[in-house]
Symmetry: C2
Subunit: 226 residues, 2 copies
DNA sequence: TGGTCTTGGATTGGATCCAATCATGGAGTA
DNA sequence: TACTCCATGATTGGATCCAATCCAAGACCA
């Protein structure tokens, strides 16, 4: 019980924030699958905190939609149906062009170089995990210069909601589809370099739309076999 | 073991939920102005609870953007600048046509009759408080038949964010502007009756866009004089 | 034998207590 | 007079304890 043996958990930020980030990451990385039950005490012990900050963290995650909270019953990692996932993509289709328009004018040359690097890395890798990771970095970087109150956070949350399924259906893309995705990424960088915000916005919209339609052809990703 | 995977039906009634709703309503009704400090103990006493559920409620409200939480300092009702308010309206401009498209096919005749009633009530009242209240009911009813995972809640949150400012700039609309707003409402009902989802979506988009432009002509609403 | 009731354990929800942190104001000094 | 430093009170953050609720297994009875 003496705290000398147990190193006090890192002090930056408050505990609830740390716990929330930890759970978010665990979900994103696939360590916590959709449908998994989240027991407060278990989480508390895992993060070296008491249950109070855990409950606050779960409240935040519920508001983000990542966790489903049932009074007097418990918390589960949210599970999406195909229809719900399509809804998230429809929403992204509307919001990300807007967010990109906010960010595009402030992207530096270095940002654009990095975007090109990431696009190239995506077309050369065969590892799905790596692809998904780089894909996320690519898009988030393209939005990173937007100075927004909530739109940026909102889009990131939408990505988080579908992250567990992204890997699953990325495997299913055939060579042609992958080629088209890479072309779209490249087109987007070109448009951004030319200062063609409208063109970049249209490209990202089409990109998300195409991904959504790919998704809807693979309902097997969402079968609740577990 | 597998019984942990599916969440049982929800049951409402915990304190954190009540507190969150209470604060939300207080902000919406203007009892809590943007910038107001929220002291945990004060709130706890007001709702007859302890500080623990209050802290959970504040976490939720922070995730919604209604409350700004500063570690080790406290909580304040979020205050928007003009630019941030315009961002919310830009976001609504993209999302509400989509949400309306989800809802429109499921609106009943009774719903449409009620919408017409509300539109008429808006054009006949001179009381600003009444107008704002009915306006919200009108739009929320038009979305109420959408069966969405998050889009419906998301739009409602966006409305909540700007609710404190809506009353302020509604006063500033001249007779012409009000007339146009009423026409738009009526046009929307007509399009919905005809089953013209696309037309209704365009109408609501134009309606929000017009409101946003009206808003940007009245920066004085956002001067931090208080 | 089948259904209902009860009881125990497990888990969440809430209250109280203690620790950590921050703002405020006053004393002391150049 | 103005600036620094420190002490003190107020407020938030976290831990522990207790109450309420739910689920499941087994007892009881028709």
């Amino acid at each position: 019980m003496t705290s000398d043996l147990q190193a006090p958990a890192s002090r930056d930020g408050n505990a609830a924030m740390r716990v929330a980030s930890g759970i978010r990451d665990a979900i994103a990385h696939g360590d916590l699958a959709p449908g998994s039950r989240l027991r407060q005490e278990e989480i508390a012990e895992r993060f070296g905190a008491s249950r109070v900050p855990v409950r606050e963290a779960l409240k935040s995650l519920e508001a983000e939609g990542l966790v489903t909270l049932v009074p007097n019953a418990g918390a589960w990692v949210s599970r999406l149906t195909l229809a719900e996932c399509e809804e998230v993509y429809q929403t992204r289709e509307r919001l990300e062009p807007l967010l990109l328009a906010h960010s595009a004018p402030h992207l530096s040359e270095a940002d654009l170089d990095r975007l090109e690097e990431l696009a190239a890395a995506m077309s050369s890798t065969d590892d799905v995990g790596e692809f998904v990771r780089v894909d996320r970095e690519f898009h988030m970087l393209s939005y990173s210069r937007a100075e927004t109150l909530m739109l940026g956070d909102l889009v990131e949350r939408l990505w988080n909601l579908t992250q567990p399924y992204r890997r699953a259906y990325t495997v299913l893309a055939d060579a042609d589809t992958r080629r088209i995705m890479h072309d779209e990424h490249h087109l987007m960088v070109v448009a951004l370099r030319e200062g063609d915000v409208e063109g970049a916005a249209r490209t990202i919209e089409g990109h998300i739309r195409r991904t959504r339609r790919l998704l809807s052809r693979h309902p097997e990703v969402f079968t609740t076999s577990g």
